[in-house]
Symmetry: C2
Subunit: 319 residues, 2 copies
């Protein structure tokens, strides 16, 4: 199966030798360090057991690319492990491989190795993704500094609202908004162009997978800092604005829902003009939503009336 379905995804020469050997050989360009990330996704945990093969493939790869972007790395290659339930048919695997091929094209990366086993258990897929960056330039969570501005890319909350649409919890939303939100849930857009451009600019960065508040909390905890963000400044898509206008209580889901796969980064306030220029160049909103201060890892969220919002335990689940 590997030979027929997956070998065409791998180049015939180095590094993967068409998946014909025991291992792949990867020779990073001179002066570049390799960035390595890994995500495992299991049916029934990260996606419903009956999920479309193409959506699983897309999400799996893009979640990994988002991690690379958060470190400032450019994606290059990946390896794939599949534990396939015995009742998965070849058609499912074929669709999965077809979607991977399209992703490789979109993101300019190649399959360099993998392993497939049949399992009596659930479908479990693991990707290890490889990126490169100038040695020593990686972005960390732990370097946020007092006085830094907190920025996010794109728009926040679409995926969490899209999940609510899929669950039938937002029946009154206009169809085009419902479609847009569902699409953002199904198809993360990893900020692969932005990440490598931040290595000279940002002090700390993370991708938003657990939710804006939680991931900013991770940065604060790792940096030994605290942060305050202004909820009204958090950028929303047109669809999310419509949903929140109809039910302001949804703002909690926006701030705490996961699966955004936008980048959150902090940088010195003096760099605001450089951030604005980068935003124009990439045609991607980069919005200042708050500030870093000395502190103990805590995150405050201030609402439009200047009051602290209590977000509570959000218990975000990925589906």
């Amino acid at each position: 199966m590997i030979e027929e379905i997956f070998a065409p995804l791998a180049p015939a020469g180095a590094p993967a030798f068409g998946l014909s050997d025991d291992a792949a050989v990867y020779d990073p360009p001179a002066g570049r360090a390799l960035v390595i990330t890994k995500d495992v996704m299991a049916a029934g945990v990260h996606f419903p057991a009956g999920e479309d093969a193409g959506l699983v493939a897309q999400k799996l790869l893009r979640v990994n690319l988002s991690d690379l972007a958060a470190m400032g790395a450019r994606p290059r290659a990946y390896t794939l492990s599949l534990a396939l339930p015995e009742d998965r048919d070849e058609e499912w695997v074929g669709q999965f491989a077809l979607a991977l091929a399209a992703e490789q094209e979109s993101f300019d990366l190649t399959l360099i190795g993998g392993d497939t086993v049949a399992t009596p258990g659930r479908l479990t897929v693991t990707v290890t993704a490889f990126g490169t960056l100038p040695a020593g330039s990686e972005l960390r969570r732990s370097n946020a500094r007092a006085g830094d501005a907190v920025y996010v890319s794109g728009a926040i909350g679409d995926a969490a609202l899209g999940l609510k649409v899929l669950k039938g919890e937002l029946p009154d939303l206009a169809p085009e908004h419902a479609r847009a939100l569902k699409d953002r849930y199904h198809r993360p857009r990893p900020r692969v162009s932005l990440g490598p451009r931040l290595t000279d600019l940002a002090n700390a960065a993370i991708d938003i997978s657990d939710g804006l508040a939680a991931d900013l909390g991770h940065v604060c905890a790792a940096s030994g800092m605290a942060a305050t963000i202004m909820a009204p400044r958090v950028p929303l898509s047109e669809a999310a604005r419509a949903a929140v206008a109809a039910d302001p209580g949804l703002m909690t889901a926006v701030l705490t829902g996961g699966d955004d796969y936008e980048l959150l980064f902090t940088c010195a306030p003096d760099d605001a003009p450089a951030v604005a220029a980068l935003s124009r160049e990439l045609d991607l909103p980069l919005t200042a939503i708050g500030q870093v201060a000395e502190g103990d890892g805590s995150v405050r969220v201030i609402d439009a009336n200047g009051r602290d919002m209590v977000l509570g335990d959000t218990g975000y689940r990925h589906f």
Copy 2:
């Protein structure tokens, strides 16, 4: 859980940053290429569902190190993914991590990243292992040449016989032999010292995981060659010799059983003295068992009477 149990396995600085970031950064030494291999193992497929945590950890890592050795790479680091059934207790995970720590010590490698999820399905563990070698020196399956001698390291067949012992199929074997064979099944000994020494010497190499005959077949198919091996020359441990002496039919299991994790390599006949010197230096038997010739990927096995052995479809299962 990751923080408490696995973070101590990862260095606080680069490349893993104590597992605190989205990804690991790995900067191979100058002039070294990175070799990457991946194995996924699932409960009920590669090991029994109730297998000891330490044995799972050992086998998982060592199988990957064997793949690196087959390419000629020195092991350096690994990432780990765990899909943990909800009923696995912390004690199991703790034992698993403890065994990994001991393996890291034995093989001089570090954990640089990973991902853990709870799953309603079976335990599935994936390791991606990283090794390094001088750029361009990797050993391939596909470079065997007509006239090459076929060598194997160590002794062949112990793991397959050990599995038979575990299944109660060899009740008359002396207890010390039974113990030795079971141990070889449970604890592969990846030839990490030998592999990197073969890059200057061997034309083709592979590790024996599917069985001697099948893996030599892989080399022949990839190289567009054929091979003939002499069954009486295949090196057996004392325990395996005792088992085969009692039941000569077991020789088929020796030649076709998997999980040996010895290295099979081919090299020019003129290099015999260099192979012999290397064997003495590493204190590891390296035994010539046959020859490569022009051909179509086939493997002939000749018995003590000069007759072709018919090995048939062996259907080796890993437990």
